[in-house]
């Protein structure tokens, strides 16, 4: 017992219901972050049994403990370094063999395991039968039937976890799936290592020539040599490499168990999933269905109802709330500096972002709907061919689609990608999917300079974003993101009826992140931007924009924009404010042109070049913050910002100068 907090590791395949189980167990006590140094999500939380607190760590969904993907490495390292007291292995009952493949590996770690057999209701519906008692007797660990989505079996699960922790007689054991000769070889190596925690695991890995474990034994060349001898013996004997031998052994053993455990329905009715997929993946219907669902999602998120709510919220904050605060400040005798800071800086700045929250929540709701129902994997399937040409996989389409709404959730959505390289590349490119905040800028400039061809101009900008993203994707994946392309193996889970609870949980998880960001980064950014626009160079309040600090900054920076056609202080200042929030470009331009008009400060060609710059250059600070959080590295974040701004500069340069050449002809 003792006072030390017991640690529980939650492990399982992707799509096994692990996240749902984790949410059920830990509720609001969750904390989501990143595993240090990598782009993999880390989740921790707590639950109680009989007033005793347990810490639960949700490890990434994995198919095995091999050290080939970041997720597997992170999971394995956690289990070995942190030595949790017990593992909960969640098994998708509709997928026994592949799930048990991981289980055999978990049991070799020398940590106690409790099995949570999830989705038994789906098994029942299919008419299949699983002999859980037989399985439990064979594995010699408790197996608890649960339904994570329905919330059943959780009490029993917690009880079993508690009991196994107290049970002295149950010691960690493995299922020994290997042929006699292999098992003997492992035992021999283990003898050489000496019995200790993870000695069996180490011995097995040394035999397997596992790169990570080999490193740990660099100081013991005799052990390494011995393992090598045994390995070569086995490989010669079976005419196959050791990796294959072990994997095959595992699956063969599991196959046998499952044959005795699972009784399939003799007359399986065509599953609902198959019926639905006949339509969704039909050669002719697939694309229209796909486009329709995207259209539906965007109409809901950016359509009339949501816009109405946004306008209402905007008025509530910028008019009514602001008035209240203003009255309060005046009554309290606040200085005009404070009033300006609070009203024009904080409320205006944070308020302009808070207004986006309903829109994002709707977007997240639909994404949760597509994901929870199982449709998302079909959509990724369809997009894979196209995305593979730029070095990504079909899964990357989710961040890209979301990016048309807002870059922040798009960057966060990159978490679902399989490899670190994919995640990074997607985060680099996602902001090129022109977000909703840039739209007002396009509208303003297009109206001022290209009145008759407004729509065509705006459309060309969006199209340019997509095309350049594609080109840059190809270039980057051949250079900086060159790497071993992992095979695109994506499971296609059965379609499931999403639960309201699940949908709202997933929607809220994502929204929470954005809201926190608005609260912190945007707050700071709003204060800074207000200070820069309201103070002159001797730090006095000024109402003359051209005297403010930011105007001087703008004048200084404007040199860079001369080759792009808009090397003037007004567009420069607008672009600087656009770093804080893209819509600021509109308000800044309006304020700065004062008595003149927006349409008078540049030539039409320069204006188009300006639009292109706005399209590509660094997204807002909230997006930069999300980038930093997801990439988990300042270096990479700076790299992304430089890449995006560099692309903006180059594209603007090309457009402006080629345009001038063309006009001279």
């Amino acid at each position: 017992m003792g006072d030390k907090l017991k640690k529980i590791a939650l492990v399982g395949n992707p799509n096994s219901g692990k996240t749902t189980l984790f949410n059920r167990l830990t509720g609001s006590t969750q904390y989501v972050g990143n595993w240090p140094g990598v782009t993999v999500e880390k989740k921790e939380g707590y639950f109680e049994i009989d007033k005793e607190k347990f810490k639960v760590v949700d490890l990434p969904g994995i198919y095995s403990l091999s050290p080939y993907t970041m997720e597997e490495i992170v999971a394995r390292n956690y289990l070995i370094d942190e030595k949790p007291d017990v593992i909960i292995d969640i098994i998708d009952a509709t997928n026994l063999e592949r799930n048990l493949y991981l289980s055999t590996q978990l049991m070799e770690l020398g940590i106690k395991v409790v099995f949570a057999l999830n989705m038994m209701d789906v098994v029942d519906n299919k008419g299949d039968e699983i002999d859980v008692d037989y399985l439990s007797k064979h594995i010699k660990y408790p197996i608890v039937k649960i339904s994570a989505s329905k919330g059943t079996g959780l009490k029993e699960l917690k009880k079993e976890v508690n009991e196994i922790l107290e049970e002295e007689n149950v010691s960690p054991h493995s299922i020994k799936p290997f042929k006699k000769e292999i098992e003997e070889a492992v035992i021999k190596i283990e003898k050489h290592i000496g019995k200790k925690k993870f000695s069996y695991f180490d011995a097995l890995k040394l035999l397997e020539h596992d790169s990570h474990v080999l490193k740990d034994y660099n100081d013991n060349p005799e052990i390494l040599e011995y393992a090598k001898e045994l390995r070569e013996e086995l490989e010669k004997r079976y005419d196959d490499d050791i990796e294959s031998l072990i994997i095959i052994n595992r699956y063969e053993y599991i196959s046998d168990i499952v044959k005795s455990t699972l009784k399939k329905n003799k007359n399986p009715k065509k599953s609902v999933t198959e019926k639905i997929d006949k339509i969704i993946l039909n050669k002719y219907l697939a694309i229209p269905v796909f486009l329709a669902s995207i259209f539906l999602m965007f109409s809901a998120a950016f359509g009339n109802v949501t816009t109405y709510i946004m306008d209402f919220l905007d008025e509530l904050i910028q008019v009514h709330f602001a008035q209240l605060v203003s009255d309060g400040l005046v009554a309290a005798g606040a200085s005009s500096f404070t009033q300006g800071l609070v009203l024009d800086g904080i409320i205006a700045g944070v308020g302009s972002v808070v207004v986006f929250i309903p829109q994002l929540m709707v977007l997240f709701f639909f994404i949760a709907l597509l994901e929870d129902s199982g449709y998302m994997s079909r959509a990724a399937l369809m997009m894979d061919r196209l995305l593979s040409k730029i070095g990504l996989t079909g899964k990357a389409f989710i961040p890209f689609i979301v990016g048309f709404g807002c870059s922040v959730p798009a960057i966060m959505a990159a978490r679902t990608l399989d490899s670190e390289k994919d995640r990074r590349l997607t985060i680099f490119l996602a902001p090129f999917m022109s977000c909703g905040a840039r739209a007002p800028v396009y509208a303003m400039i297009a109206t001022a300079y290209f009145a008759r061809h407004k729509s065509l101009v705006i459309f060309s900008v969006y199209l340019m974003g997509i095309i350049v993203a594609g080109i840059m994707g190809i270039i980057l994946s051949k250079t900086i993101f060159k790497g071993e392309k992992a095979p695109f193996l994506m499971e296609l889970p059965d379609y499931r009826m999403p639960t309201i609870r699940g949908l709202f949980t997933h929607m809220w998880d994502r929204s929470k992140d954005f809201i926190k960001k608005a609260g912190t980064i945007i707050f700071a950014a709003s204060v800074i931007i207000w200070l820069l626009t309201s103070l002159d160079t001797s730090f006095h309040l000024t109402s003359e924009p051209s005297e403010s600090i930011i105007a001087y900054l703008g004048k200084a920076i404007s040199v860079i924009f001369i080759p792009l056609g808009f090397g003037d202080w007004i567009p420069s200042v607008a672009l600087i404010t656009g770093v804080f929030a893209k819509e600021s470009v509109v308000s800044t331009l309006n304020v700065l042109v004062q008595n003149s008009s927006v349409g008078a400060i540049m030539t039409p060609l320069a204006a188009y070049s300006f639009l292109i710059f706005v399209l590509f250059y660094v997204p807002c600070v909230a997006a930069i913050g999300a980038t930093k959080r997801e990439l988990n590295s300042v270096r990479w974040t700076i790299g992304a910002v430089l890449f995006q701004t560099g692309t903006a500069w180059i594209m603007s340069f090309l457009i402006y100068n080629i345009g001038r050449l063309v006009m001279m002809i």
């Binding site: 198919y63 095995s64 091999s66 080939y68 509709t94 997928n95 026994l96 063999e97 592949r98 493949y101 079976y238 005419d239 196959d240 490499d241 990796e243 294959s244 994997i247 095959i248 699956y251 063969e252 997929d277 993946l281 039909n282 050669k283 697939a286 694309i287 994997s377 399937l381 369809m382 894979d384 061919r385 196209l386 593979s388 079909g394 071993e484 992992a486 095979p487 695109f488 193996l489 994506m490 499971e491 296609l492």
Partner: protein, 82 residues
């Protein structure tokens, strides 16, 4: 080029189309690709069925060990089958 156990005259990587069945009998090349495929259940002797192809012809939806997984042609062509 390792063929693994059970390799015979018919072990090849013929083009697969919807409806075709195969039994894994080897792989082309080593490395993480093969490891991944084996982890997912494509071990020698295992039967798999190509259920569908995606609307653009790639990737394929393959059923193996009772579940469906999407695999790109280029990757499944690494698997030799009878």
């Amino acid at each position: 080029m390792r063929r693994g156990r059970g390799a015979g005259r018919h072990c090849s990587n013929r083009r697969l189309r919807p409806g075709s069945k195969g039994r894994v009998c080897g792989y082309r090349g080593r490395g993480p690709f093969r490891r991944r495929l084996m982890d997912m259940g494509f071990t020698p002797g295992t039967e798999f069925t190509v259920k569908k192809e995606a609307p653009f012809g790639d990737p394929l939806i393959v059923n193996v060990r009772g579940y469906d997984v999407s695999v790109r042609r280029k990757d499944i062509e690494r698997i030799m089958h009878k």
